[in-house]
């Protein structure tokens, strides 16, 4: 069999022990999309791969393409994002993002724009004072880039324009919005205040680098956060495992 070796840049999303001393990595790569690769011997303390095969780490990698699993041959650390790993809340957010990435992105479906967005968000998570706001932004924009974009411009019940504002129901089944009169006849959505709808609309166009100047009331923030999380859970079609942990850390720490 002919082995093809390729070079790519990637972010480690998930690490699972495999066999005696190996690791199976789920990697979001810049050029290949999400891939799974074995890192042979990576659990041995003296392995050159031990530090490069930890979650959130950005690496430059040489990978052998395999039939089912690829094989990580060499990895050089570009960024360790150590501030994320040293903070429980940031770790919890980062872990949830990683789960969103491998649940929502198909394997071997390259999307460089999404890769760069994920990377920029991790860089921000490493340094921001407000990881909670960043995560709301990330969750909304990441899903939007993958085609799960909330449609907030007009009521998906009667077609009335919602652009001038007003409260509505956010439908987690479709990402659509119902105006207040349609909401009364259809109570299946997540009811959002006018402020929350406006906030969500703003986040969809806001620049990541200017996130720190965005101010908004806690109640609207909570509404949007819960709405997006339920939207993600519903769209993925299965419970997102790391969300329970994230919620407990957000609540108690």
């Amino acid at each position: 069999m002919l082995l093809t070796l390729y070079r790519t840049e990637g972010i480690i999303l998930r690490v699972r022990p495999f066999g005696e001393a190996d690791r199976i990595l789920t990697i979001l790569t810049r050029t290949e999309g999400v891939i799974e690769a074995v890192a042979r011997g990576a659990r041995r303390p003296r392995s050159r791969l031990v530090g490069a095969t930890l979650p959130f780490t950005q690496i430059q990698a040489m990978i052998f393409r395999g039939k089912s699993l690829d094989n990580l041959s060499q990895a050089e650390i570009v960024n360790t994002f150590s501030a994320i790993r040293e903070d429980l809340l940031r770790t919890a957010y980062g872990t949830y993002w990683c789960e969103l990435a491998y649940e929502f992105m198909g394997q071997r479906d390259p999307n460089e724009e999404v890769y760069l967005f994920f990377l920029a968000s991790l860089l921000m998570l490493d340094s921001t004072d407000d990881p909670g706001l960043l995560s709301i932004y990330f969750e909304l924009r990441f899903l939007a880039q993958l085609g799960y974009r909330p449609a907030l411009d007009c009521c998906c019940g009667c077609g009335k324009s919602m652009a001038e504002g007003g409260a509505g129901s956010f439908l987690t089944s479709s990402g659509g919005l119902l105006c207040s009169s349609c909401t009364q006849s259809n109570a299946s959505g997540e009811v959002l205040s006018a402020a929350a709808v406006g906030f969500m609309r703003m986040l969809l166009v806001w620049d990541l680098r200017k996130l720190n100047v965005l101010k908004l009331p806690d109640t609207a923030r909570l509404e949007v956060k819960n709405g997006i999380r339920r939207f993600a859970a519903e769209q993925s079609g299965k419970p997102l495992k790391s969300l329970d942990f994230l919620r407990s850390i957000e609540a108690h720490m």
Partner: protein, 197 residues
């Protein structure tokens, strides 16, 4: 069907063991059938005996045949230090060094949100119930991977208000390792953990 039912069953059972594939299971099965009956009997007896007599210590969670375990009842050990580890094999590893003279607490796992393992699945409540005025130090000896680190961070937050000394095992260059081959994370950790000589 290549094998008679008793042989097939043996191979199936052996291949359920961790790290044993079908080929190895087959080799082990042929080996066992080539042994004297009393040798095989001794192996079978030891499996049953270990399973029947070993269970978890109600205090520390280590595997033991007496309750509480001999470490928890050893009066010569320092009862004011508790070393928190992920599994019973970590207790064995630390005991082999003969360096640590305190007591242990086995969590039976580590926090792994992506596998749906949260703090409530570990023996954390049992740890908290052991903490009283006599406990002076908690050593967090979880693995230096994401699950172990997350668990250590979680325990640190939980234990911080209790006015205890909380320590974490030093991480750095393995003995016998080469500095130039160490990765960046390991080097940073090793620098952070440096000490005066």
């Amino acid at each position: 069907m290549f094998y008679a039912p008793p042989m097939a069953r043996l191979i199936t059972e052996l291949s359920r063991l961790p790290g044993i594939g079908p080929k190895t299971a087959q080799r082990l099965a042929f080996y066992l059938l080539g042994q004297d009956k009393q040798d095989v009997q001794r192996l079978a007896d030891s499996l049953i005996e270990a399973k029947e007599k070993m269970s978890f210590c109600p205090i520390c969670g280590h595997l033991t045949d007496v309750h509480p375990c001999s470490i928890c009842t050893d009066a010569s050990r320092n009862a004011s230090i508790i070393c928190v580890v992920e599994g019973p094999s970590d207790v064995i590893a630390l005991e082999k060094t003969r360096e640590f003279k305190g007591r242990y607490h086995v969590l039976h796992g580590a926090i792994s949100p992506l596998d749906g393992i949260g703090p409530e699945d570990l023996r954390i409540r049992e740890l908290l119930s052991r903490i009283n005025d006599d406990i002076k130090e908690i050593i967090l000896a979880t693995d230096p991977n994401i699950e172990g680190e997350t668990t250590a961070l979680y325990l640190t937050k939980l234990l911080r208000p209790l006015n205890l000394k909380i320590t974490r095992l030093a991480r750095g260059i393995p003995v016998g390792g080469d500095l130039e081959y160490a990765d960046e994370v390991t080097l940073i950790r090793a620098l952070e953990g440096r000490h005066e000589v």
